[in-house]
């Protein structure tokens, strides 16, 4: 194990994966530096690079000969992805440069979902094994170990690209403009530089680099439809650790993380999935702007329609009372399946409402709220499976575990703000996901845990329906009340002006921390109730897609309204239940809905209705 030759080989393997990480992350970093958009779709660019390279090599190697065909296919694939990135910029990003960062993140995630459904439709769901790289198919012998030649090509690619980027940024006029825009976008605009062309160019460069990374990976790893999500999380980590906007920082961070991975796997294999995110959390606490990043001025884009909170008027109270009566009577008319669907709506309503509590009132955009939903789910499941507890005590364990998790993660999260905060919530959710995925003895790993059913007295669907209505309804009502209470007002005060808060004796970070923990605890209740209705739990409950589902519910209903998340959760879950079985393109559909919401209806359903009513009222 401690054979120095073996350690050297492992070090070289680390360098090869560092190159790959750097190629992806530097494009992400450059795009962020200039456009201030964190591009979730960068993983999709990477995946498309591999698929493009596969198809191009497939056609060109027979036609042009192996060597020429392959080595031409790689750069062409990269250019193809660059052009795709330009398309994304022209059609989508151009419309949202001035939007809130939440909308930007979600919009690029919409692209991810669409590409995820497009790729299997075009290339099929199976893994596609690419050709081996002509000229580098053999091994070299290093200190008695055989080391693939192609790994050496990959090792060289990183520093070569770094050098090329340095020349581009320091020796060309365009590169100088990119650097200037990274430092001060407004000033570059004021100097009469055509920003539209600059931004398009930057997207081309970023897409090209990600495409190149994907294409170069083809001889090592088959092209498959899961490459995007897997790589984007690590690319985020590298970008954030290096400092967003810093190419050299991305290079350093890629080296550090890849080497830690390469050696970590020798010492403690279980930790590999978690390791990058732990590094990120530690670096962000020590240096909130990454290794070589600069402090980010607050973006200052508020949500559309920030207004004073108004309690429900008499019509609203009557509507709420009517709704409660309807929900109480619903089991009389619904069948088992519909009842189950309805109770799941209550679960997601609480999930979305708790997310909006920290996001709308607290201004903390969380991309990892599923962590607390999932911790609740796992808390209940573990209480049943590992401790042999009954349903009710397990339902107490759910918010307990979620609340403790939110307290622990939240302590770090509230130290940051804006995009960095969102990235850190994502990192913590990935830590929770990886733990559930890799700690097989405790959690059942990928398969999760099954057979977690309610106690005998609650096994009837109708009884469980009422139990869910009671628990989720009470938690939602509690958060609703807290929003109007001093606690919620103070959260909003911290979001509006931390400076003013500090000058009237309010410790904003501490309050945000408590708010984060409270929201996490409530999401845990939702998770716990959900497990007993489904009978099983798997790592999907903690995954990025679940977090994004929550965000889509909030956005669909309308951020900055209290009824919005509830409405959005109902609409989203019912749509999913009825549309998902009918189509192979559910994700693409969700992606399109996201794009439509972000571009055309940023105020969401409830906000749209509110504006409509107010306009009527004004004209009457």
């Amino acid at each position: 194990m401690t054979d120095p030759a073996f350690l050297l080989i492992q070090f070289l393997n680390g360098l090869a994966s560092a190159s790959n990480l750097f190629l992806i992350a530097c494009g992400l970093s450059i795009i962020f530096g200039v456009t201030r958009i964190v591009n979730f779709a960068h993983g999709s660019f990477y995946m498309l690079g591999a698929y493009f390279a596969f198809t191009l090599a497939d056609h060109m190697m027979p036609a042009l000969g192996d060597a020429v065909g392959f080595w031409l296919a790689i750069p062409l694939a990269a250019v193809g992805v660059g052009l795709f990135a330009v398309l994304v910029e022209l059609v989508l990003l151009r419309r949202i440069y001035r939007s809130h960062e939440l909308f930007q993140l979600l919009a690029t995630f919409g692209v991810v979902l669409i590409v995820q459904d497009l790729v299997p439709a075009v290339w099929g769901p199976e893994e596609l094994f690419g050709p081996r790289a002509p000229g580098f198919t053999s091994f070299v012998t290093i200190l008695g170990f055989r080391f693939p030649e192609y790994q050496l090509v990959l090792i060289a690619a990183g520093p070569l690209v770094l050098g090329a980027l340095w020349l581009l940024f320091n020796r060309t006029r365009w590169g100088t403009l990119v650097r200037a825009a990274t430092q001060d976008r407004e000033m570059v605009g004021a100097l009469g530089v055509n920003q539209a062309i600059l931004f398009t160019g930057v997207l081309f460069l970023g897409g090209l680099l990600a495409g190149l990374a994907g294409a170069l990976q083809l001889p090592v790893e088959p092209a498959n439809p899961f490459m995007d999500i897997h790589v984007i999380a690590e690319a985020f980590v590298v970008t954030v650790v290096g400092g967003m906007g810093s190419v050299l920082g991305a290079f350093l961070a890629a080296l550090i993380i890849a080497e830690l991975q390469a050696f970590g796997i020798l010492v403690f294999p279980e930790v590999t999935l978690v390791l990058p995110f732990l590094v990120m959390a530690l670096v962000l606490v020590w240096r909130p702007w990454g290794l070589l990043g600069r402090p980010e001025a607050a973006t200052g884009h508020g949500f559309a329609g920030d207004r004073p909170l108004r309690p429900l008027g008499t019509p609203g109270q009557l509507a709420a009372a009517a709704l409660i009566v309807v929900l109480l009577l619903l089991p009389l008319v619904l069948g088992d399946y519909a009842e189950k669907l309805a109770l799941e709506v209550f679960v997601f309503a609480l999930f979305a409402f708790s997310l909006n509590f920290i996001m709308g009132a607290g201004g903390m955009v969380s991309f990892g709220h599923a962590a607390y939903f999932g911790l609740g789910a796992y808390g209940a499941a573990l209480a049943v499976k590992q401790l042999g507890l009954a349903m009710l005590p397990a339902l107490v364990a759910a918010p307990l575990l979620a609340g403790l998790g939110a307290l622990a993660f939240g302590w770090f999260v509230v130290r940051l703000s804006g995009v960095y905060l969102a990235m850190l919530t994502l990192a913590f959710a990935q830590i929770a996901w990886s733990t559930a995925f890799q700690w097989v003895e405790l959690t059942g790993g990928d398969n999760g845990m099954i057979g977690i059913w309610p106690s005998a007295w609650a096994s009837n669907v109708t009884v469980y329906y009422y139990l869910t209505l009671l628990l989720c309804g009470a938690a939602t009502a509690f958060l609703w009340r807290a929003s109007f209470a001093p606690f919620g007002y103070t959260l909003r005060a911290g979001r509006d002006s931390p400076l003013r808060c500090d000058a009237i004796g309010i410790d904003v970070k501490r309050h945000q921390w408590l708010g984060f923990a409270l929201a996490g605890t409530c999401a845990g209740i939702a998770g716990g109730v959900f497990v007993f209705s489904k009978g099983n739990v798997d790592p999907g409950a903690l995954s990025i897609p679940t977090s994004v589902d929550g965000l889509v519910m909030v956005l669909l209903g309308g951020i900055q309204t209290l009824t919005g998340p509830l409405l959005g959760a109902a609409a989203f879950h019912l749509l999913e239940a009825y549309v998902l079985p009918l189509t192979d393109y559910w994700r693409a559909l969700v992606g399109l809905v996201i794009l439509l919401l972000v571009v055309a209806f940023p105020q969401g359903l409830a906000g749209f209705l509110r504006d409509l009513i107010e306009r009527r009222g004004a004209s009457a």
Partner: protein, 268 residues
């Protein structure tokens, strides 16, 4: 008379640059005390060391005899120091009244209450304070939609809510129209005279300074150049040299005096 604020030998360097060197002064109860000086004189640094935003390298700040050197702003506020900012800081998504209610909620330590409706708590008290700054009529408007001068008044009301001993105002009239400036400072001075609190403020506008300050401190490149009543400071030859620069000084001063003369008559 007792001093509300005593500052002794405050010292702050940034890297190699001496921003403030041995600043000492005291503000007596019920007085307006101004710190003036050209750009880069150390006014804001000095000010932020009193308010707790910056920690001094050396020296002491005492509030009513109690040492508050290096305490965080939150703590200093609780000991009785209200503050307004150069660029008004208010809660834009709340109503005017709710902005002031927040200060009461914090003062009475109720910000973590989870159940009572916040908009009914301390509303009467908030309206009373708003009445003093002439904003009671707009109590239910959204703060983010007010004119800038009105936001400054709301900020003043927020700073006055917990009946501070001392009010810190960093360039209170920056960014305001000339007429609004006169009104805001007259309002502040009136409140100070009637309630007996003290004010420490920095200001660029000499009209405002000489019209309202009881005492002045003049800083230049971190050094104290002069301290005294407006008349003393005005007659100090070094102030004239630094502040107004040689030849033009006389004329400029005469102009200020002339303008003050007219203002003096207009004042009630």
């Amino acid at each position: 008379m007792t001093a509300v604020l005593e500052v002794e030998g405050l010292h702050k360097t940034f890297g190699g640059l001496v921003a403030v060197e041995a600043a000492s002064f005291s503000v007596e109860a019920g007085r307006l005390f101004a710190i003036i000086g050209p750009n880069g004189a150390g006014k804001s640094t000095c000010f932020n060391m009193v308010g707790g935003q910056l920690r001094p390298d050396r020296g002491a700040v005492r509030l009513a005899g109690r040492d508050i050197t290096g305490e965080p702003p939150r703590r200093i506020w609780r000991l009785g120091v209200g503050r307004t900012f150069q660029v008004a800081a208010a809660f834009g998504s709340m109503t005017v009244a709710e902005n002031v209610q927040m200060a009461f909620l914090s003062h009475r330590r109720r910000i973590r209450a989870l159940l009572p409706p916040a908009r009914r708590l301390y509303r009467e008290e908030a309206l009373a304070v708003l009445d003093r700054v002439g904003m009671a009529g707009q109590a239910d408007r959204q703060c983010g939609q007010l004119a800038y001068g009105d936001i400054k008044r709301v900020e003043l009301a927020v700073a006055l809510a917990h009946r501070p001993k001392l009010l810190l105002m960093d360039e209170p009239t920056a960014g305001m129209a000339p007429r609004e400036r006169v009104e805001l400072m007259a309002l502040t001075a009136g409140i100070v005279r009637e309630s007996g609190i003290s004010v420490l403020f920095t200001e660029h506008d000499m009209d405002v300074v000489f019209a309202h300050a009881d005492r002045l401190l003049v800083l230049d490149r971190g050094r104290m150049v002069a301290e005294g009543t407006p008349a003393e400071v005005r007659d100090n030859p070094e102030v004239q040299r630094i502040y107004l620069g040689g030849a033009g000084a006389e004329a400029a001063l005469r102009q200020i005096e002339a303008r003050q003369g007219t203002r003096g008559e207009a004042r009630p």
